[in-house]
Amino acid sequence: MFKILKKTELAPQVFRYLLNAPDIAKKALPGQFIIIRLDEIGERIPLTISDADPIQGTLTLYVQVIGKTSMEMSRMKVDDFILDVVGPLGNPSLIDLFGTVVLVGGGFGIAAIHPIASALTQAGNKTLSILGARTKELVILEKEMSVASTKVHVATDDGTHGTKGLVTDILLKLIEKKEPIDRVIAIGPLIMMKAVADLTRPHKIPTLVSMNPIMIDGTGMCGACRVTVGGKMKFACVDGPEFDGHEVDFQGLLNRMNTYIPEEAEAKEKYLKETEGKCRIAEIVQIYG
């Protein structure tokens, strides 16, 4: 049993949690994730470890409400317990002195990019972060990101904050300004990561993306998380989650992410009916992309 110590709503349907998980906190590194199961009937869902405090024994998580499980979690309170938490899973991000690194975070991907940005900055890199969201109130962690990185750029679809447009517009400008970019790391919706990879490919800038396929066990046992990278089948939970963005078959993954749409809607509807809650699902789905 893992206790929720703190919970904050950062933006509509985006929550931050501080979770008590001392053994995992001791070992977690930037880029790794956990899999949680809320209760006996729950499904197993992966969440990125956004920060880990080995002394306090805590993990910081950011959760975007998408379907039933994330919604149920958003209704949990401080002092509630999560039944199962397993991790740290996946390979940590490679932290080294690369030179200039551009970090692109979209939506809740910003939470995943944050610990990587911190570590890269500490390792002596010049870190340029680009945060993207649909609208101003969904730009999370801007303050933390400006501490963690050398410089922060923001793009919103509707222009309510930062540059009006997409994260790739800013990235393109940096490339055009002949900023010497040694590496790009992009985490966010698949469409965004694909756009970033397509943009950097002709410029031969090494680009890493973090894959978020459907997972079950997270230990390499089920193959649900398979992605094709450079023509080879890889399991995101043990071989990733970061892969070479220029080699990933985004189209294949986009298709596989649709597998459970009808069933997920069914689960959510049932849950909403049972709890008589209100939800802004249409809007949330739009945010998520």
Binding site: D23, I24, K27, R37, I41, G42, E43, R44, K68, T69, L83, D84, V85, V86, G87, P88, L89, I216, D217, G218, T219, G220, M221, C222, G223, A224, R226, T228, M233, V238, D249, G252, N255, R256, N258, T259, Y260, E263, E264, E266, A267, K270
Partner: protein
């Protein structure tokens, strides 16, 4: 006790089963097991051989004639205690051992007649003990003060844990999933091995003093070094299994509706997807399934698929013929009776899709040639023999490789080129690293429940000797 004059001629007592028409749509156990009278009748066919061949066929050497004698006399609890001396999970093995290749294969009665139904009797005895709360109190052994870590709660780890606890060691099992049991939990379905049986046998281990910690992926949350140096474990057993699913490496494997058997069975058995939406994990509502393979895993996947509410048809596609099917004989017969459609001598070469979803598979016809290294006839594809099967789902059950997590995190554990952990001393299952032992599928590749338990028991002996060496 009644003795048969001609045990060879006395027919074997068959355990009643759920009617195929009924069971093909439910998850309840297929075989209903013996009544006490049936068990006594069957056990009394045993002629109590002086040199019992049956025992040689059993990897853990259950004292078969001794327990059969007690069953024949009606002393079922005594029989249970005899079995448990060498086999801590009889309710499981009685159900899933390929008895026709092991104990029963060697039974002398089988030479002229039908061999003793040792598996069904073992199962009966275990069930009797479980349902008759007269559990013999567990003798407490003096503590040795030694701590042993077991990685993986599959049959190998559970058998090791049981034996070590009985010797007075403090045993902690670390399991990656949220439920212990390994394949017994996530792989083998309810209609073949009810979870209740497994729970009861796990309970027995807990009563022996074994602690089971779930949600611990060793190699990630802790390394072997940390277990030994920081947590003070004196020895380690690795029983992490062969859980890495193979795919076919043919076009279309990323279409929606393609599953590894592990994913499909895990969704159902571990996550209860067949009870969606009461449980949160879904399985897509398919109408037709094509299962590729012919082992226990393939048959379990096929028969599980058949039991889902929306399923209309399940096909099994196997590249050899019925004779070569590696699955247990009983499962093959059950699958046939339930109406699984078997396509022999066929091998898929392409999975075709419509709008991202599986719509059919293209297969080639095969013929059998000379026996290969495994002794089975090698299949060859026939020229220009492609044909298609219409289906909206494909389950790939081609076996599995070993999980690299532990070996990756600990460079001093030697593995072969397939990633199997090598044992330096096969009598005690010691690895290349002092104090670290291994056994089960992680060493042998995918094998059987009882062979994993055998390896675990050997390792337990090795561990016991190893930790006691340091006694002052």
């Amino acid at each position: 006790m009644k003795k048969y004059a001609q045990p060879y001629k006395t027919p074997r007592t068959h355990a009643p089963e759920q009617n195929p028409e009924k069971r093909r749509k439910n998850f309840q156990e297929v075989s209903l097991g013996y009544t006490p009278a049936m068990a006594q009748l069957e056990a009394s066919r045993c002629i109590q051989c002086k040199k019992p061949k049956c025992v040689i066929g059993c990897p853990v050497r259950v004292a078969i004639p001794d327990f059969l004698e007690q069953v024949a006399k009606g002393n079922f609890l005594e029989a249970a205690h005899i079995i448990k001396e060498s086999n801590p999970l009889p309710g499981v093995t009685g159900r899933v051992c390929p008895q026709e290749d092991q104990c029963e294969k060697h039974c002398v009665i089988g030479i002229k007649g039908e061999p003793l139904a040792i598996g069904k009797l073992e199962r009966f005895v275990a069930d009797y003990e479980r349902t008759h709360q007269d559990l013999k109190p567990i003798e407490t052994v003096p503590s040795t003060g030694k701590k042993i870590a077991i990685i993986g709660a599959g049959p190998a780890g559970l058998a090791t844990a049981g034996d070590l606890a009985k010797l007075g060691h403090e045993v902690v099992i670390f399991e990656a999933l949220h439920k212990p049991g390994g394949v017994l939990f996530y792989g083998i379905p309810e209609f073949r091995l009810p979870k209740e049986i497994l729970e009861a046998e796990l309970d027995y281990l807990k009563r022996l003093g074994v602690e089971i910690k779930v949600n611990y992926v060793i190699g990630k949350i802790k390394s072997l070094d940390e277990l030994m140096k920081e947590d003070g474990f004196n020895a380690i057993f690795i029983g992490t299994g062969a859980g890495l699913p193979y795919f076919l490496d043919i076009p279309g494997e990323n279409l929606n509706g393609v599953y590894s058997a592990n994913e499909f069975l895990t969704r159902i058995n571990l996550m209860h997807a067949w009870e969606f939406p009461v449980f949160d994990t879904p399985i897509h509502h398919h109408k037709i399934f094509a299962v590729i393979g012919g082992g226990n895993t393939a048959l379990d996947a096929a028969r599980t698929a058949l039991r889902l509410a929306t399923t209309e048809k399940v096909m099994l596609v196997y590249r050899r013929s019925r004779e070569e099917l590696p699955a247990r004989k009983e499962e093959i017969e059950h699958a046939e009776a339930e109406g699984i459609e078997f396509h022999y001598l066929a091998s898929p070469i392409d999975i075709k899709g419509t709008n991202g979803w599986v719509s059919k598979i293209v297969c080639e016809k095969m013929e059998l040639g000379e026996p290969d290294a495994s002794g089975r006839k090698q299949p060859h594809s026939l020229h220009n023999s492609a044909f298609t099967l219409t289906t909206d789902s494909v389950i790939i059950a081609l076996g599995s490789g070993v999980n690299p997590l532990i070996a990756k995190s600990s460079s001093d554990i030697k593995t072969d080129h397939h990633g199997h952990i090598e044992v330096a001393d096969p009598n005690i299952n010691l690895t290349s690293r002092p104090g670290v032992f291994a056994g089960g599928d992680i060493v042998t590749g995918a094998a059987t429940v009882i062979s994993a338990m055998e390896a675990g028991k050997k390792a337990a002996q090795g561990i016991h000797q190893y930790v006691m060496k340091f006694e002052v």
